[in-house]
């Protein structure tokens, strides 16, 4: 499996750590239900999904990877810094 790091180009999967679904952090002041949804519940699609990967053995970038969970095709990648995952403050 190969993942394209926006900084480094295509690299072997073993350079990366994968965290899970790429979801925006709930807004400040969000309640328990929103947090429960964020941390636990998953769409878990059998199709394209967005995940957070970390180029741990490379440049250290956190990356949002759009990937197909059935074919394993990597559709697109971008730096997580552009994915607006921080939630409202």
């Amino acid at each position: 499996m190969r993942i394209t790091c926006p900084n480094c180009g295509e690299r072997d999967r073993r350079e990366f750590y994968v965290k899970g679904a790429a979801l925006a952090r709930p807004d400040v002041g969000a309640g328990l239900d929103e947090w429960h949804d964020h941390l636990h519940l998953r769409d878990n699609p059998a199709s394209e999904t967005k995940e957070l990967w970390y180029h741990e053995m490379g440049c250290g970038a956190w990356i949002e990877v759009c990937r197909n969970t059935v074919s394993h095709e990597v559709v697109s990648t971008r730096l997580a810094s552009g994915a607006e995952l921080g939630g409202k403050r």
């Binding site: 072997d12 328990l32 941390l39 552009g82």
Partner: protein, 976 residues
Amino acid sequence: MRIAGKGLMQGAKPVTFSFNGRHMMGLEGDTLASALLANGVHLVGRSFKYHRPRGILTAGSEEPNALVTIGSGAQQDPNIRATQQEIFEGLEARSQNCWPSVDYDVQAVNDLAAPFFGAGFYYKTFMWPSAFWEKLYEPIIRKAAGLGALSRQADPDACEKAYAFCDLLVIGAGPAGLMAALVAGRAGADVILAEEDAHMGGRLLSEVEEVDGKPAADWIAQMLEELDNMDNVRLMTRTAVTGAYDQGTYGALERVGHHHSRRAGLPRECFWRIVAKRAVLAAGAIERPVAFANNDRPGIMTAGAVRSYLNRWGVAPGQNVTVFANNDQAHRTARDLVDAGVHVAMVIDSRHDAPDSNLYPVMKGAQVCSSSGRKRVESITVRSVAGEEKIQTDCLAMSGGWNPSLHLTCHLNGRPQWNRDIAGFVPAPGTVPGLTCAGACNGEFSTAGALREGAAAAVEALVELEIKQSEVTLPQAENDLYRVTALWAVPGKGRAWLDFQNDVTVKDVKQAATENFRSVEHMKRYTTQGMATDQGKNSNVAALAVLADATGRGIPETGTTTFRPPFAPVSIAAMGAGAAGQGCKPQRFLTSHRASREMRAEQIEVGLWYRASYFPKTGENTWRQSCDREIGLVRNHVGVCDVSTLGKIDIQGPDAAKLLDFVYTNTFSTLKQGKVCYGLMLREDGFVMDDGTTARLGENHYVMTTTTAAAGQVMAHLEFVRQALRPEWDVQITSVTEQWAQFAVAGPNSRDLLNGLLKEQIDDTSWPFMACGEVEVLGVQGRLFRISFSGELAYEIAIPARYGDALFRALIEQAKALGGGAYGMEALNVLRIEKGFLTHAELNGTVTAFDLGMQGMMSKKKDFIGKAMSTRPGLMDDGREQLVGLKPVGPVKQMTAGAHLFNPDDPVERIYDQGYVTSAGFSPTLGHSVALAFLKNGPDRIGDEVRLVDHMRGIDALCEVVDPVFFDPDGGRSRG
């Protein structure tokens, strides 16, 4: 029998090898199989279940029968295919799964009991009485398990792993693969041509035909010469591509050292990870046997294998050969044998429209329905409209047609498609992105067709790669139509084998269908069809045809089982190369490592690090003696300990304080410059991730420490927060764990010690408790932190790592002068338990700030990671297990980590469980054992007695619940 002048090995050197202790001669270039056949040996092994005699079926890696053990002692290598193993001077091979010998195998008695050993019989019996399974039945079954044997010794042979990258990977070097490589190579693409065999050429090596107007072998040589001269083409023989993975990654096994005696410095095998932008699969095809009664005897081989032995190795596998076929190609076997002067007794063709010959007799519309002979076929029985007829023969060449070698196209879950014209499955296009099939593996069986498809596949790849192609003309070659009429199993009464190794017969498949194992997967699993070492390469299609017939369905509706990696078996040593012994993970050594080894310190693994456990002095016989002494050094004088393994993260930028406020539960933006503060870090789910101290070195400059265990996790977490959650903040973070050596200097004399080394003297006013700053030590800029993990007056001094060794030695020397010395992890652990300080024994991933009594550290004024979820009801519940200290009641008793706690009057059962001990040790300072534990409602039970039970170590003791800070509870020593 070797035929003079026949084969491609003219002038090859003779080689001596041994088989079952018997010395034999072969020729360089022989496989063990061709050499054995040249020596007239057909009986090579025994089948798995019935221990039936087994000969050589094929001439390739798909061989199910002729599996042998090579070598002896620790190097003994089981389950090696005789059809693949090249012989060399001194090679030792022997039969396996037989006792006392392959000729007389006691377990052949199983064959007599075959009626009781049908498909799935073991699911229906061996159930009574129930205790007998482990005691009686299973041990007997287990005795019969397996084929070859391992030596039980550590594998002494080296293997390697390697990476390769290319524009185009061509898998298989038959006519299609050679052509693909040539087209792509000439266009300038980076090409890897991987061939499983020792020689390139594929099926052409085994056939008598011309390509481009010259003998095939000459054409191959010409192709290889051109390819070899291209810098952009890498030719890899003895390299089987074993798996297709995502994004153009392929696994491949190169047999580097199997074909000669061991040579120093040369690995036995190399496992390659090949990343290819495009790939061409040109893996050829595998001929399939026909199922008829007793079709499993030695001497019964595939027709193509007979041609291989004859045309490539110059060996006739019999002197009175018969051929049984359902396709035209197999008639070539008879033709070539006759040309070589070998008698062909009969060609039996199941088709009424089979071609005639004036070289050999042909029976059309006839079938071989049985064979006889014990350890080698002696005769066959042929059934035709004229009735049954026995024909004497010492070798039957059979062909049920060819199955494309499409295995790799299934590795990404692709399903092959049924092709009626060839009565076989062909690959569905596009099942492996970037991979195109060409030639026989694509169902195109003529040489001309293979050349055409190989060239076309390369052109397709070049277009995708945007490489301009050059002119290539296709050479003239054999262009026969492939004519076949399906024939899977000849009707009859006897046992007709499908899976030769696992002894699965047509009857077994039919019985499975009768018992409603009608799904092809059910049939496979119930009968073990296709689960042998060939993974059904020889037998799956016929078996599913039999199943389709038995269930009244067509083959396409019946479906196939799945081919999965690896294409051919790969040794664990090859895929795990480099990991034996110390190689499985990197080793991290401290700058003090050499000095502490000189001090005879015992080393222990902490993650990837090695740390000094204790420093034994002459006369100390146990770790406890050293540990107790070292604790005394710290409590009474001064001790020095390397703490560099703690994670150190440098955090700089205008928003550094914001970042810290966000990742810690407590506030760091208000920390004064030159001060250190303890911080608690949660995961987003509200549980504790880590703790540590963070120092503010400047307005926008902090240095965070993490625990050793969580250093990587915290770094990734901080990067996540910075990059993904708060990308707008101007802050940079860098791990500096390896850049700084850091030593704890702890004990009443620690300040004196430091003043002996620092350029500028310190005192309590200039360096109060929790102060930090830069210092000059040994003429180098270092950092000094007044923090304590022992409860004593203590400092940690950091210095660039290249001076770590010098500083450690200087510190030890100074410490000795002050009555102190080095202390290790054992002493450090007891010192911190005495003070109730935490490590990952307590911060074990399931504790909350509440459990630690640190809820007061969770700021109410700001948002921080984990804040929301830490207030979940379940995380603040009074009934949670919370941190306490334990000390024994009464005379000295041991307390142990991992023990569980109970109320003294309760039964010791799970439902009465009150908690567990996380850390324990003997405190020489206090004269009794001390332990930290998590106890339900712990803080409310100070002074209560609890019962500590450790079944594992046989300990049952009463303890008193105490505050987790055993020693110097008001902290006067560290401040003073």
